[in-house]
């Protein structure tokens, strides 16, 4: 068995080639676009001079390997280059939108934990009871609901119908904190509900696993109250798998954010990616996909490392 820190260091070292691979994949993918990107961007306005100027400005005449290294060197310095359309630095576009996506993900994670963990505890503590069956049913239906449809339904019911919450748009946190939160309630719930259903199901399984162990039976035999058993003996031991699943779900929310940001017109990185895809703004697609992918990978890596630090058995692998 290795020490916790060599375990963490080894995982981090393995992340470097993965990130490199991801950058090669994303860069290579965007070179596969049929036709000359310069012609695609300029569209019907393309003149031979315009195409030549664009090719020169974006180094499209260089060998592909050289283009890749130039891009990678820039990315490592935080410079993602300029976009094809507005000639704006892509790095700044991403930085401006990142806080929206991060805030959305953070709120959704909070909702997921607050809804999912109690659901699992209630279900797992009383096996085969009504609450247990309800947990299973909610878990199954929850994973099957398309989140973009859930978003539309929530919008239809709570904002357009009942007029309780704004249906879209965004107000920066610094300008009007309360308004900012109100605008993010529906998007965060949309993102959280199906993940909470999954977390509830897995928490239930984790609790069931612990409840059967000898030390819980012993605690019960010595006459501890059920509540004390649940909070003092079951929950701390079930926490490791629960926290791990929650960590993995933060990653998945980064993917789900693309759809949710589109429905609720939030100016986040997901929306930026989608707009760039629809406008065929390939340099932007390339950079945002890499940034979201890297965040997803790093969140999973962090979860993995934390899991290993808490639970020494994992480190043996």
């Amino acid at each position: 068995m290795s020490s916790p820190w060599t375990f963490a260091a080894r995982r981090l070292l393995l992340a470097a080639p993965l990130l490199l691979g991801m950058s090669i994949l994303v860069f290579g993918l965007m070179r596969l676009v049929p036709g000359d990107p310069a012609v695609v961007v300029l569209g019907y306005k393309a003149t031979p001079e315009g195409v030549r100027a664009l090719r020169e400005a974006f180094h499209l005449d260089e060998p592909v390997a050289q283009q890749y290294l130039r891009w990678l060197a820039g990315v490592l310095r935080g410079d993602f280059g300029l976009d094809f359309r507005q000639n704006e630095p892509i790095g700044r576009m991403i930085l401006e939108r990142l806080p929206v996506t991060l805030e959305l993900t953070l709120l959704a994670t909070l909702c997921t934990a607050l809804l999912g963990i109690p659901l699992g505890l209630v279900g797992g503590a009383r096996r085969h009871g009504f609450a247990d069956r309800a947990t299973l049913a909610i878990g199954l239906v929850g994973v099957s609901i398309p989140d973009f449809w859930l978003g539309i339904m929530l919008m239809l019911g709570l904002s357009l119908g009942a007029g309780l919450l704004p249906s879209g748009g965004f107000v920066p946190l610094g300008e009007a904190p309360l308004d900012n939160l109100l605008h993010l309630v529906l998007p965060a719930l949309t993102l959280a509900l199906s993940r909470a259903a999954v977390l509830g199901r897995l928490s239930r399984a984790a609790v069931l696993d612990v409840v059967q162990r000898g030390f819980v039976q012993f605690a019960r035999a010595k006459g501890l109250a059920e509540r004390a058993i649940l909070f003092r003996h079951v929950l701390p031991n079930a926490a490791i798998p629960i926290v791990t699943v929650l960590g993995l779900q933060i990653g998945y929310m980064l993917g789900g954010a693309i759809v949710v940001e589109m429905i609720f017109t939030l100016p986040g990185v997901g929306r930026l990616t989608l707009d760039a895809v629809l406008e065929r703004n390939y340099p932007v697609v390339q950079s945002t996909v890499l940034v979201i992918g890297a965040m997803f990978m790093l969140v999973n890596l962090a979860t993995d490392i934390v899991y290993g630090l808490i639970d020494p058995r994992v480190r043996r692998r």
Binding site: P146, V259, I292
Partner: protein, 271 residues
């Protein structure tokens, strides 16, 4: 006994949808594409229980035809992923060492992206359309299938009966194909059912976002995108296509749960 009911219901949903999509042209449905301006945005009636859309097309009929695309894309993607992923996983698991690294490390890179994001990125290069979407989803799934196959091989090849077959002089292809691969079939079947559910979700999501199936084709995601503009006057335009996606996904998820319980006798019940 109760444990069997849910998976059977899942199987029932999946079979019913399969029959529905195959028989769609023979069913007494309105045309999914005929436009009738005077019927535009008419609410649900006895003959048209799902109502009409903004162009007066039957939503029920469109949902049925959209299922053809939805299931077609999901099945094609899953089959392609098995055909590509299974051999890769079998070879990686059997050979280990360098071959394993050469096969699995690039697949890890694909797995390092969120599925929806990778599918969107692929579609941005491929362009839109049902066939291209199936290929994009197959690429997203291949690493999953390869991992499942590889894990099954790693667990199986150390079994005594495999050693026995090897001692009796079985060749490598024979060992892998007749003694090891059948053990990978079970987990891959479960995974296929899960991927069908995810495929239906991603097809709908991508079409909804405008990077999936192309407009004249009826697709549940496209119907939701159209319905958004009319959701206050005609909520049935968004309610029914969404419920349709959910029903199909629920069916495959229930089936996957059941297959897992049935086929893996060692799995603890009711998890």
């Amino acid at each position: 006994m109760r444990r069997r009911r849910l998976p059977l219901a899942g199987l029932g949903i999946v079979l019913a949808l399969a029959v529905l999509t195959v028989l769609a042209p023979a069913l007494p449905l309105g045309s999914p594409t005929d436009i009738a301006k005077d019927l535009a945005l008419r609410g649900p009636t006895v003959t048209e229980p799902f109502g009409m859309d903004d162009l007066g097309r039957s939503i029920l009929s469109r949902v049925v035809y959209a299922y053809r695309i939805s299931l077609g894309v999901a099945v094609t993607a899953a089959v392609l992923a098995v055909l590509i992923g299974a051999p890769l996983g079998l070879v990686a698991g059997y050979c280990e060492g360098l071959a394993d690294q050469l096969i699995m490390r690039p697949l890890d890179v694909l797995m390092a992206f969120p599925a929806v994001l990778l599918a969107i990125a692929l579609m941005s290069v491929f362009g839109t359309g049902a066939v291209l979407l199936s290929v994009a989803l197959a690429i997203v799934y291949t690493p999953v299938m390869a991992r499942v196959a590889r894990a099954a091989v790693l667990a199986t090849k150390v079994e005594v009966y495999v050693d026995g077959a090897r001692a009796l002089g079985a060749t490598m292809p024979r060992l892998v194909l007749t003694h090891i691969a059948p053990n990978a079939a079970t987990p891959m079947l479960v995974q296929t059912s899960v991927l069908m559910a995810i495929g239906i979700l991603i097809e709908a999501a991508l079409s909804f976002l405008g990077v999936g199936v192309r407009p004249p084709t009826p697709s549940l995601g496209l119907m939701l995108a159209d319905g958004r503009g009319f959701m206050l006057q005609a909520p049935w335009m968004v309610v029914f296509p969404g419920l349709a996606v959910m029903l199909a996904v629920l069916g495959f998820n229930m089936l996957a749960d059941g297959l897992r319980d049935w086929l893996d006798p060692q799995a603890p019940a009711g998890r």
